[in-house]
């Protein structure tokens, strides 16, 4: 066993209202630069839909991720090392900017500078790629809210797959407006355990950080071979066409290192993102990713994760150098709870064999909505359980996205959510919750209430359990103003008198010694209505 720690995310799709706040704040924080205009480290797709870049899930075309070779060993879908080097002079499978969308701005100057005329001046769209006037025809969320789905919806690669397998053309997923279900899928880099982008990088400039599993690009090491863009099946590595280097979601590592949630999580209006540590066994990753049956990959990945409650695991983690409070954080991790304990979260496209680490709770809302519209009680357990099965379309479609087509885990997750609704509905109405509802999904009342607290109440401190990066360094970080010497000493060393060579305020003074903890304690003391306990005790 070789335990490693990974900061991971779970998104509760039931709560996503598709407001794109995560995308916008991420863009403002990371990609509002030239060369990155077309890049969204975080984007929100409406599904069914083509996604961004268009049809990125069609791996027969884009060749992302891994596949098994004849001997059953993992191999990059785009070809091995030698093929990769032989095709280094151009990358035949690289998406062009137009596969994402051509970024544009508006010629605002024309509004003020246009010569006097009969017509009002307009701000024409201009391409940010060639500077010429352009017709805006596509963008990162052009098919938002199923816009154009009647025409383009068939182009969704997952819709194609569902139809192919069901062999009932056009019957299964309909895009008639009143029959279509939809949900939003926010996507960031998956920070995979078996990243194919890192494996495709000829320069070795991409790496997975040993401490927290965040996948990053070394900007000084990247030589712009563009193999990572092809290697990533989620198309979440982007080519900055101004600098000629690859860039990707950083999991906001400067924030996570100091215990703050990522920008997308922090600003999420629906509060649907959960951040936490997951411990996993690095020795098992390759074997799990080589699982023959695609539909077994979800279970295989669950098998890679370690239970932080297990004393054996905790000892091994300590030996592996994982700090104590990371292990503690793993025990309290909401991600671990949703993924391994309640098993309601599912990975995105496990069939790419990259072992993704951003997991999703499938949306129950389309099912509830469909029920309510037909006049049934959308929160009644029996109705819901039945509906989940009869509304085959969402279930099979969701399965294509989250479990390589295996309906059982999606169904199990949705029934747990349904049971939770029924159980909590009874409690809210002052009725006794029917224990058989909880039992039917393999849980009990208190467990369901615990899950409800995590999913529905979703307090800030429950959603984000992030240990800071430098626990061992913590004291030094807090008191960084004065690393080694006495706080009263001046630089010129006149000692603890406090005065510089020419009296008070002379000499170079250091910042006062304030630890973060003291700062917060002081603020609490000064702003609270009651006297804190420790002060009262002293009196």
């Amino acid at each position: 066993m070789r335990p490693m720690a990974q900061v991971a995310m779970v998104m509760n799709l039931d709560k996503c209202i598709g407001c794109h706040t995560c995308s916008v704040t991420c863009k403002q924080a990371w990609t509002n630069r030239s060369g990155m205009e077309y890049v969204w480290f975080n984007n929100v797709e409406t599904r069914p839909g083509q996604g961004y870049p268009r049809r990125y899930e069609d791996q027969e075309k884009w060749r992302g991720g891994w596949e098994l070779n004849k001997r059953g060993a993992l191999k990059l879908k785009n070809g091995g090392r030698i093929k990769s080097l032989l095709t280094i002079f151009s990358n035949p499978k690289l998406p062009e900017i137009k596969d994402y969308y051509e970024p544009w701005t508006y010629d605002y100057k024309n509004l003020t500078d246009a010569p006097l005329g009969d017509d009002y001046p307009v701000a024409e769209p201009r391409s940010l790629i060639d500077g010429k006037p352009m017709k805006v025809e596509w963008s990162s969320n052009w098919d938002d809210n199923l816009g154009g789905a009647t025409e383009y919806g068939d182009l969704d690669p997952m819709v194609e797959k569902v139809r192919r397998q069901a062999q009932q053309a056009a019957e299964k997923v309909k895009f008639a407006f009143e029959q279509t279900f939809m949900f939003y899928l926010p996507r960031i880099c998956e920070h995979c355990l078996n990243p194919s982008c890192v494996s495709s990088c000829p320069s070795g400039a991409m790496y997975k950080r040993a401490e927290d599993g965040i996948v990053l690009v070394d900007q000084d090491g990247c030589r712009g071979w563009r193999k990572c863009v092809t290697g990533c099946p989620y198309k979440k590595v982007y080519f900055n066409h101004a600098t000629g280097k690859a860039e990707k979601c950083t999991f906001c590592y400067p924030r996570v290192e100091v215990g703050l949630p990522t920008v997308c999580s922090e600003t999420c209006v629906g509060r649907l993102r959960y951040l936490g540590v997951i411990l996993y066994d690095a020795d098992k990753v390759t074997r799990a990713a080589s699982t023959k049956d695609e539909q077994a990959l979800y279970e295989a990945q669950l098998g890679v994760f370690l239970d932080p409650e297990d004393p054996e695991v905790r000892r091994a983690a300590e030996r592996a150098g994982i700090p104590y409070d990371w292990v503690e954080a793993a025990r309290r991790s909401p991600v671990h709870a949703l993924v391994s304990k309640y098993k309601v979260a599912l990975p995105l496209h496990p069939e790419y064999r990259t072992m993704p680490m951003i997991w999703y709770i499938p949306p129950l809302s389309p099912v509830v909505d469909a029920l309510t519209e037909t006049g049934h009680n959308g929160e009644d357990a029996d109705n819901l359980f039945g509906a989940i099965d009869t509304l085959r379309i969402p279930l099979e479609y969701l399965a294509e996205i989250f479990t390589a087509g295996d309906v059982a885990p999606v169904r199990s997750s949705l029934t747990k959510l349904a049971a939770m609704r029924a159980h909590m509905r009874a409690i809210n109405l002052g009725e006794r919750p029917d224990p058989s509802v909880a039992e039917s999904v393999g849980m009990d009342g208190p467990q369901i209430e615990e899950m409800y607290r995590l999913l529905a109440i979703a307090k800030y401190e429950d959603r984000y359990v992030i240990p800071t990066a430098a626990v061992g360094d913590a004291r030094r970080l807090e008191e960084s103003a004065v690393p080694d010497t006495c706080s009263l000493d001046h630089v010129d060393g006149t000692g603890p008198t406090g005065d510089g060579p020419f009296g008070q305020d002379s000499g170079q003074k250091r910042l006062p010694l304030v630890t973060i903890e003291n700062f917060h304690a002081a603020r609490r003391r000064q702003t609270s209505d009651e006297e804190p306990d420790d002060v009262r005790e002293q009196q």
Partner: protein, 241 residues
């Protein structure tokens, strides 16, 4: 003049190449990239770029063979001058034609495709002039001085001169009777060598051969000192007294 051209210039070019590369490595790792324009246009590039690169690699191999394998060695293995000439004429012309065709397509693409042209810097344009001139002049010199039966034997003149450069005793006189096209080609080539570290050509030194030998997934730990306060600037360290 002869001393300057054939005794000093080669050394200046090599010094610029080495010093420039070291400088670039130390101060401009971030700018060290292929600066690919493939995201703008892919179809033509997918044909032209491999053509040019494979062509120029064969041309490089040909130059190394011609300049650094002495005639006596090839004679020793029974390869007479005529056979060698035919090899270099056909092989070299094929490789050269591939490279010329490739770079012409790339240049057309660069000029006619608006986004690609917009991403072209002045530096790129200067580089293209020298690169194209070196390739075209080389082809021209070879073809103008060759027939199928016989050709100019540069292995008696240019090659020994190049080798003499490495012993730091440049044999300048060897270059006296060389056809002028060959001379210009050599000079443009030297300029191109000097230009390499200061243009995008630098990417030739990052051919990622190590990819063949490393494990797929790369793990790295956070760099020492990446967390916490920055270390004091040099010369501003706090006194330990």
């Amino acid at each position: 003049m002869k001393t300057l051209l054939w005794g000093a210039l080669p050394y200046i070019a090599v010094v610029l190449l080495v010093a420039g590369t070291v400088w670039r490595f130390r101060y401009d790792k971030f700018g060290w990239t292929t600066r690919s324009s493939q995201v703008y246009e892919s179809k033509l590039l997918n044909v032209a770029s491999p053509m040019f690169h494979y062509g120029i690699l064969f041309v490089l191999v040909g130059h190394l063979m011609g300049l650094f394998v002495p005639e006596s060695w090839t004679d020793g293995i029974g390869l007479d001058e005529h056979t060698y000439h035919l090899l270099s004429l056909y092989g070299g012309t094929a490789a050269g034609a591939l490279a010329v065709l490739g770079i012409l397509m790339l240049l057309v693409r660069r000029r006619t495709n608006a986004p690609v042209f917009r991403a072209t810097t002045a530096n790129d344009k200067v580089m293209y002039v020298f690169l194209l001139a070196a390739i075209v002049l080389g082809m021209w010199a070879k073809l103008a001085n060759s027939t199928v039966s016989a050709g100019y034997d540069y292995r008696q003149t240019i090659a020994p001169w190049v080798r003499s450069l490495f012993t730091l005793q440049p044999d300048i006189d060897r270059m006296a009777g060389v056809p002028v096209l060959y001379q210009i080609h050599a000079l443009v080539g030297l300029a191109l060598i000097a230009l390499v570290p200061f243009t995008r050509l630098i990417h030739m030194f990052s051919a990622p051969v190590q990819y063949l030998f490393r494990p797929y997934v790369v793990y790295r730990s956070r760099a020492e000192g990446q967390l916490g306060p920055r270390p004091d600037r040099r010369g501003w360290e706090e006194s330990k007294l």
